[in-house]
């Protein structure tokens, strides 16, 4: 019988000064190829959530690739959306930093993505952690 396991990737670190938030996204995206190690039909269902300072990873118009030659977190978030990963951003933390939905990456429409970022209360992120089999806190 096929087994699904949900893994929550929670990001509360700032980008660029450390590798942590980038690795959260690359590991979450690796869920798309994990089947090679699993039994037939078994799957990992990832959910990515940005909390605390981590919400600043989600700002639009990041130019790290142009200026430093390093893929931006924006690029990784768009790839996650393109691959239909569930991406959540903490509403209270966005408000704390004076940000709105217009300030952050809400979709990856220009590269063919169909799902959107969900801006949700922290309690919803706690529920996602609760329903996950494992929580990976980056």
């Amino acid at each position: 019988m096929a087994v699904e396991k949900k893994m929550a990737f929670i990001v509360d670190k700032l980008p660029y000064k450390a590798e942590t938030s980038r690795l959260a996204l690359t590991h979450a995206i690796a869920s798309q190829s994990v089947e090679i190690y699993l039994e037939d039909e078994d799957t990992v269902i990832p959910v990515v959530a940005f909390v605390g300072e981590g919400v600043l990873n989600c700002l639009k118009d990041q130019a790290a690739l142009k200026l430093y030659g390093v893929t931006s977190l924006e690029g990784h978030i768009k790839n996650a959306l393109l691959l239909d990963l569930e991406v959540m951003v903490c509403k209270e933390d966005l408000e704390k930093y004076g940000l709105t939905n217009d300030s952050i990456i809400m979709d990856a429409e220009e590269i063919g993505g169909e799902v959107e970022t969900q801006v949700v209360p922290f309690d919803d992120i706690l529920k996602a952690m609760d329903s996950a089999d494992h929580v990976l806190y980056f």
């Binding site: 929670i10 509360d12 922290f122 706690l126 494992h134 929580v135 806190y137």
Partner: protein, 98 residues
């Protein structure tokens, strides 16, 4: 959920820790977070210890820093690596490291 939270840093504020809720919450102080168990700032215990949780501190990390396991805050149970294994494998369903 039964959640074990490993805290490894000595900071007075942590927005995740402040907001986190669980049916059973364990806060496991390791590395520099053991100062929360063994040091009082201006005579006051660390605000982390006000959280509704069970508290543990790793004896090896207390002793490494010159803190006596006999002098930790009364809310904190001193544990060793064997105990940590039991906390992870038996007492809590999930663990996070912050």
């Amino acid at each position: 959920m039964k959640l074990g939270v490993f805290v490894s840093q000595y900071t007075q504020t942590n927005t995740t820790l402040e907001r986190i809720k669980a049916d059973k919450l364990g806060i496991i102080l390791v590395q520099n977070a053991v100062y929360h168990a063994g040091i009082k700032e201006n005579g006051k215990a660390s605000p982390i210890l006000d959280k509704d949780a069970e508290f543990f501190a790793l004896t090896e990390d207390l002793q490494s820093r010159g803190l006596s396991p006999d002098n930790v805050d009364g809310k904190v149970k001193v544990v060793d690596y064997n105990d940590l294994v039991d906390l992870i494998m038996n007492d809590y369903e999930k663990t996070i490291w912050i």
